[in-house]
């Protein structure tokens, strides 16, 4: 074991953990204030439900020996996950680092269905999704499964995390249907500073996500780190300029979105491409996501917080460009080539199919047991009051204390 590697993975795990509360703020700022807490809770509770599911079962399905598609049960209940070395760090630390990925991936999906999905089926969905869809996907790419052997390049989760969550988001948004006010009323972000805070903390945490994926304190980590710094910078510049060109005004919501898109795009490439390519990837990725967002807002497809445009599409562009810019000189196992782009494309298509089909089946199943959508009344009243019995910002006026039982 290497002490410096342990430190870096401790830090990286903490950073990735922080991404989930960060996402809670990023998302919550974009919804209406009557749904702010519900949106936050969708991320927050992933910390509990996806996290515990991962520790008890998901980790084993992802990383214990199995077949090309899914791992076994050797590590179920954290069996055999101990202080012995896995690579250069304790096995438990590797498990914990991976847990933070599982949590954020599940939370990402919520952006597609906020402001209308009931909370209980949501919890059920992300818990099972983590085990059924996410863990096998991890196994296939990083756990010795078939995509690993197939030659897919995915440094830190462009496929596993972002395209995977993006595909689930698309089917979830489609299966649940649009919010009742979608396309009829203006639904504005109620608290843009929240979204900016989320973007800032996401960037900070993403260093752990990408550079931590080196699993060691070495050149690869440094490269992944630097690329994670450079790509969003370029996205931010291009996005801002595109907005100015289109509407004469750069927006703060746009800037926050650009940062996330840049981060997503560099994720599969982070440790494989030279820094100058990171700038290029960031710059290029701005365009498809920007226009997808604009198009989506005018369509009747209500992927409410644009998980598909930001994560699905951003991840796809990043994964394809990884096939272009990968460089052996900078640590990639192969150099970029048309062939590699083909491999990337097939992997993307497979991931979309895998996640789309299974997520849809899962939603349909849960929908059989309990309604997925809130009633029209609850949706109009707001999910905070209807699902959680509380409000994000209260003055307490007109609230009357109810004393249950006697006072001691």
């Amino acid at each position: 074991m290497v002490a410096a590697d342990i430190v870096w993975m401790l830090v990286s795990s903490a950073l990735v953990l922080l991404m989930t509360p960060a996402l809670a703020f990023f998302y919550a700022g974009l919804v209406r204030s009557k749904n702010a807490l519900n949106t936050m809770m969708m991320s927050l509770c992933s910390l509990g439900f996806a996290g515990v599911a991962w520790a008890l079962l998901g980790y084993s399905l992802a990383f214990s020996d199995g077949n090309g598609v899914v791992g076994g049960l050797a590590h179920a209940g954290l069996m055999g996950v101990d202080l012995a070395a896995k690579g250069t760090i304790p096995h438990i630390l590797f498990m914990a680092y991976q847990a933070t990925f599982a949590i954020i991936t599940a939370a990402l999906i919520s952006g597609a269905i906020v402001e209308r999905m009931r909370f209980a089926p949501y919890l059920a969905f992300i818990t099972v999704w983590t085990l059924l869809v996410y863990a096998p996907m991890v196994h296939q790419v990083w756990g010795g499964g078939w995509l690993a052997s197939f030659g897919t390049l995915d440094y830190a989760g462009g496929t596993v995390v972002h395209i995977n969550a993006g595909a689930a988001a698309v089917v979830a948004a489609w299966w649940l249907g649009p919010r009742r006010d979608h396309g009829r009323k203006a639904m504005l972000p109620h608290h843009v500073p929240s979204t900016v805070l989320g973007a800032g903390l996401l960037w900070f945490g993403w260093f752990g996500f990408n550079a931590g994926s080196a699993l060691a304190a070495n050149n690869a980590a440094a490269l992944a780190f630097v690329n994670t710094l450079l790509a969003p910078m370029a996205t931010l510049v291009v996005w801002t300029l595109v907005e100015v060109a289109r509407t004469r005004r750069a927006t703060a919501v746009g800037a926050a979105t650009a940062i996330v898109v840049g981060l997503v795009a560099i994720t599969p490439a982070a440790g494989f491409v030279p820094p100058i390519a990171a700038l290029a990837i960031g710059a290029i990725a701005a365009l498809p996501s920007h226009f997808a967002l604009v198009w989506r807002a005018r369509s009747s497809f209500d992927d409410s917080l644009d998980v598909a445009a930001a994560h699905g599409l951003g991840g796809t562009v990043g994964a394809l460009l990884t096939g272009v810019f990968a460089s052996k000189a900078w640590g990639a196992p192969v150099d970029g080539s048309l062939g590699q782009v083909g491999i990337q494309a097939i992997s993307i298509a497979y991931t979309l199919a895998w996640s789309g089909a299974l997520s849809l089946g899962l939603l349909a199943l849960i929908g059989k047991l309990t309604p997925l959508r809130a009633s029209a009344r609850d949706e109009a009243l707001g999910m905070d009051v209807s699902q959680h019995g509380e409000e994000a910002y209260t003055t307490g006026e007109g609230a009357i204390l109810v004393i249950e039982g006697s006072k001691s």
Binding site: K185, A380, V385, G389, E390, E397, G398, I400, L401, V402
Partner: protein, 118 residues
Amino acid sequence: MKMIVAIVRPERLGDVLEALYRAEVRGLTVSRVQGHGGELERVETYRGTTVKVGLEEKMRIEIGVSDSFVEATIKAIVEGGCTGEVGDGKVFVLPVERVVRIRTGETDTAAVTPIRPE
């Protein structure tokens, strides 16, 4: 001149404004209020504390109109604001003695006819 004060549901505000627009009522003032009427009370919980929230979010619209517009205005508000469920709100009509347009000092009817800037 009358002052029409209407309390409506926030989610119907857009419809009310549209109906008013179609009725050619231009000037108006809106504010966020909280109302208590026949609506069901809401229970919320914060840590151990349970509270009953007896006030619902509403929007208050205030419109100064010349007498001939009163009927049309009320009609538009009722049209836009009605859902048929308890809590739709009320319209009050109050007499007004004088209106002054601050920009010009004009009074009464002249004061409430908005002049569109070109």
